[in-house]
Subunit: 338 residues, 2 copies
């Protein structure tokens, strides 16, 4: 009996034309995972071809009559769209028909609906959004990425626990290094909340490696980097902007004239390998942590390859007992405290 | 009568072997600027050769017996090292002998000493550190970069004014676009302080262009980006880390074997132009804004080329009446408020 992933086919900038092919490719390469495609049947069925017959009980379609808009206010999506594809994927996880949900829709709405339907785990005050970033040594998990703007030290501690349990589950590393994002040693070291969070993390039983600075993220100085949602969001988006600018400049320099275009052709193998290593699509799929179920948010602009990675991350987290791991750790923490 | 720049020759990872050659190169290409080299004469004089004779009154050496260490606590540097090269450059600006100071030393100590010696301008509560970053369209000024960890809305407003006056002075753009760094539109839009700062900036008379997100920095969406020191420091350091990782990956892919090394040789002209465009040394020199004098902080690891850029930024800001511009704007703001 494998994991079943419920996929919101309507979310994202492109909807079913991206999500459905991604799901089919994923099914082909992951024989133990089942998929429920959720959304407007009239949009999904024509894209399936022979797939329904080919995959048998591993592939199901669940009709949902409504769609949450990419700019729709979360409260609106939550209250008035009870038959949206986003709501149904959460419902399927709640009922146990699926063990994980994936959506490329509106982040705020996905968080609000998931929280309303699934509720948070005992001891978790606020769910967090956890992204995976490439580093010089492999990859790191960074959270929170924007769900929580004002955080207390206790919230940051909870983020550390959840991030560590995610790394433990999917990377099979039982003692991932947890770092606290802070500012330069030269200046005053962080604000009061961060200082207190450092104390809590030091006494948490986690493999806490102390403060890390912005540049340490990409050096791979920690497996899990903890920060509040404002700082995390800025760090992530700034990285995206810089990567985009550098890639534009590189393209411009190699596209300048006939000679540089010939250079680009000759250098293509090396350039391609470079591009693959930093391909942000491979890191698509942020995990909404702290809920009583696995929910993964894909980038809205994901292509089929990128969306497939998000499905994979959801299946992986659910298959490796992410929720159980967080629950157990939270329970053991409250025993220590009691 | 040109500008005189006082240079702390002892600061930075390399000290006089970097700062002195940088100053001499700068003097050669800027005939209206004078320089005072400050530090241990026995370290500086041997590096000057014929320069003292060649530049005449444009080049002076001022002995300072002490040096502020790169890891020295700011309070210590300020109180007990009254004859440090860092202290003397600030004293020279205070006395009017120089119009700007440059140091590659310890940021915290430079800020503490500059603030103690020069004091802040009327209406400015806290000085800020303002860096210049490359963008798709040119460059932007970002502040604060770490001097102020907990900021009020009023502080952010003051940063906006100071950044706009810097852009006006050195880029000759009298209405630079000022943006407020904030998080994704999808999520809750920022914390209370940022929301209030948005209101203040909207009513400030500045050319306020609203919220910008992390990726907008490198898109050049604003000429001046305002944020608190924690967020700004993380954004800057994260960018440094990512750029470093990408450059390592690019080098690794082109250095993989004989064939890729040949590719690199052939592609060298395009790679070199790319490297030049994103060369962080060209953007060296953060301005300490809000003081009654121009103080520029160079990166500690600067090489002569990078340090020369920091000297240039100091001369440029002083020569274009940066301090007078900030004072006038602050005075006009308080008139409006009265």
């Amino acid at each position: 009996m494998g994991v079943t992933v419920a996929i919101d086919c309507m979310g994202g900038d492109h909807g079913p034309v991206v999500t459905v092919p991604a799901a089919l490719t994923f099914l082909r390469s992951h024989s133990t995972v089942n998929v429920i495609l959720v959304g407007r049947e009239e949009s999904i069925l024509p894209l399936l071809g022979e797939a329904l017959a080919a995959f048998g009980s591993r592939l199901r379609v669940r009709h949902a009559s409504e769609v949450v808009g990419m700019d729709e206010p979360p409260a609106n999506a939550m209250r008035s769209k009870k038959d949206s594809s986003m709501r149904i994927v959460a419902d399927l996880v709640k009922s146990g028909e699926a063990q994980a949900a994936v959506s490329a829709g509106n982040t705020g709405a996905l968080m609000a609906i998931s929280r309303f339907v699934l509720k948070t785990l005992p001891g978790i005050d606020r769910p967090a959004i956890c992204s995976i970033l490439p580093t010089q040594k492999g990859h790191s998990y960074v959270l929170d990425l924007g769900a929580n703007v004002d955080c207390s030290a206790e919230h940051l501690l909870q983020f550390g626990i959840m991030g560590a349990m995610l790394a433990a589950a999917v990377d099979h590393d039982e003692r991932p290094r947890v770092g606290l994002l802070n500012i330069g040693e030269e200046a005053i070291k962080g604000n009061e909340v961060v200082k207190q969070a450092g104390e809590l993390l030091r006494n948490s039983g986690l493999n806490f490696c102390g403060n890390v600075e912005g540049d340490d993220i990409y050096k791979g100085a920690a497996d899990v980097v903890v920060c509040d949602g404002f700082v995390g969001n800025v760090a992530l988006k700034t990285s995206e902007g810089l990567a985009q600018m550098l890639s534009t400049f590189l393209r411009e320099e190699f596209g300048r004239n006939l000679f540089t275009r010939i250079m680009a052709l000759i250098a293509m193998p090396a350039l391609k390998r470079f591009k693959h290593r930093v391909d942000h699509r491979r890191y698509n799929g942020a995990v909404l942590l702290g809920l009583r179920g696995v929910v993964v948010k894909s980038h809205g602009s994901a292509d089929p390859f990128a969306f497939e990675q998000a499905i994979g991350r959801a299946a992986d987290a659910a298959g490796n007992q992410l929720i159980e791991r967080i629950s157990l750790k939270m329970a053991s923490m409250s025993e220590v405290a009691a």
